[in-house]
Structure formats: C-alpha cells, structure tokens
Symmetry: C2
Amino acid sequence: MPKKPAAVLTVGEVARRSGIAVSTVHFYEARGLIEGWRTEGNQRRYHRAVLRRIAIIRIAQRAGIPLARIREALADLPHDHVPNARDWQKFTDEWRAMLDDRITRLLQLRDQIASCIGCGCLSLEDCPLRNPDDRLGEKGPGPRRLELAENHHEGT
Amino acid sequence: MPKKPAAVLTVGEVARRSGIAVSTVHFYEARGLIEGWRTEGNQRRYHRAVLRRIAIIRIAQRAGIPLARIREALADLPHDHVPNARDWQKFTDEWRAMLDDRITRLLQLRDQIASCIGCGCLSLEDCPLRNPDDRLGEKGPGPRRLELAENHHEGT
DNA sequence: TGATAACCTCGTCAATAGTTGAGGTTCGAT
DNA sequence: ATCGAACCTCAACTATTGACGAGGTTATCA
C-alpha cells in the first residue's frame, strides 16, 4: 500500500475513516466534541486521535447519551494525542458510571412493570410506576417538572 | 369529598390528573397516542382510561422509547375502557421485550467498554466497540447507515 | 498551469417532543 | 344573561442531531 496512514487528517479523511458524514464532523467540531486546527487556506486538519474520539461519541450515542453530556465526559480526553492509559481510565470510569445508572433505571422500570402484572395493579391507584407523576399532577398545575432524572450531574 | 371522580374527563382534568400540560394532551392526541371524542361545542372529552395510557406513555419515555413506537405498542390497548387482564398482559409482554432488548444492548456496551479497559484496546485497531462503524467507514462513502439498531420492529 | 476534487461558510430542512401565543368559542356559575 | 375560566385551532418557536445544497476557495495531480 502506497498510502501510509497519515497522522494528520483532513475532514474528508476523518469522515471516511470514522464512518460519519463530513457535515457531521463539522457539526461535532461546532459543538466542541472534537477539535483540530486550520491550514493557511482555512481548511480543517485533525490529529488522528480524533478518530478515537468519534468512535467514543458514536458508542455513547448508541447508549442514548446526548451530545452535550458526551462532550462533558470527553473533556478529560486530550484532543491532540492518543490518550494514554490514565486518560483512558479516568474517562471510562465516569463513562461506566453513566451507563450503570441508565441500566439500573431501565431494570427498575422493567421489574416494576413485571410486578404490576402480578400485583393486579390494573387499578393503578397505587402503582409504583405511575405515582411519581400522578402525585405531582394531583397537587396542582405548577411548573412542568419533567422527570429528567438523568440531569443530576454536578461536577466531579 | 363532594367531587366524585368523573368517568369522563376534559382536557384540563386529564392534564391535571396525569401531570402533563394541556398542550401535551393535544399533542398526544394529534399523534394518535390517545383518543377521545368531542362535545357538541367541539371540546375534547376522554374516558378515564386515558390516564392509564398517559401513565404508560410517560413510563415508556423514561425508558427512552420514542413516541412513534410507544404508539405502536399502545395500539393493543383499548381507548374506551380500562384494559382488562388480557389486554394488559398482551401489552406488557411486548413491552417487557422492548425493555429487555434495550437493557441487553446497554449491558453489552458497558461490558465491552470494561473489556476495552482491560485489553489494552488503546490501540483501537480491533476494538469490538469501534469496529462496527469503522468497517463501514473504511469501505467507502455510501449512504449514511445510521446505527438505529432499535428500529428493527417488524409487525408481530 | 490548469482542471477538478475537496474544502469553506451559511442557510435551510428534517424529525422528535413539545411550549407559547394570538384570536376566537364554549361552559358553567351566579 | 353575562362574565370569566376553560376550551378551540393554528402557527411559530424551542432544542437536539444532524443532512444537504448554493456559491465560493484551496489543494493537488498531471
């Protein structure tokens, strides 16, 4: 193969090698998920480490994590070089915690539904699944308290 | 209590009792998630069974399931009366399958990440997490194959 | 030195899940 | 009968996550 894998990538190369569209590369950069520099002629250039970042981003998205939060998590990973073991460790720790959290909540949901089948919860009057919202509802109009329980991220 | 729980509800009552905004009730109706009838004067009326539907909708959303799919699942539940045991059973079976599916995929993801920490996958050349996308990317541009693996719902 | 492939910005569009507001109608209580 | 609360429709706007095209510039190959 004449083409040696370049350490510096153009947008097009990033797109091709990461499997995302060029527009998406732009988009991710605009959102601060990835970062590179520009040539004299204003064209984007990226360190190959960006490929890993993008891989991580896609993984995270598969888990349903919004870009904004992915960005926060990625803040620990360097843009300009392939992460070393420590970078990576720190990152994955947080990451796994996020996933665990999601999984836990999903499991709860599933098990609660299961118990609802068994408990004849058709009356729905004291169903553990329904109540969190209903209590709120009964209490009056008030501001919409969306159950975004997942937004409980304070700094580390 | 002077107010007996009405069997027929106005939008406002639905909103108050279910904890969602009136505009959201409208929205759900427009999307076919709930259903009612109109008075002479064109105002919405709902059977109280709608409260259960809405409760279910919110539960499903907590699990990250898009409204379109919730609607499909809810198609098995009657709009006009509180579901009986059979309705409910049928529904929850499908439901649980969906949740299980999501949980499974999330677990896979988590475990793969864990294994990546251990396996020194920093080289990232054969990381099981990265490859699905990368293989695609390497093969050429082609149409964007978004990994919405969750869209694999054919009819029952 | 061109040609043309790849790149640039910026604006628009799509789908999801709603919220808000304008302008007008109906309901229910007095 | 009248008043105000609740309701109606419709359009526009929010945010997220991008895709896509127009019009113009840069890089690279021969």
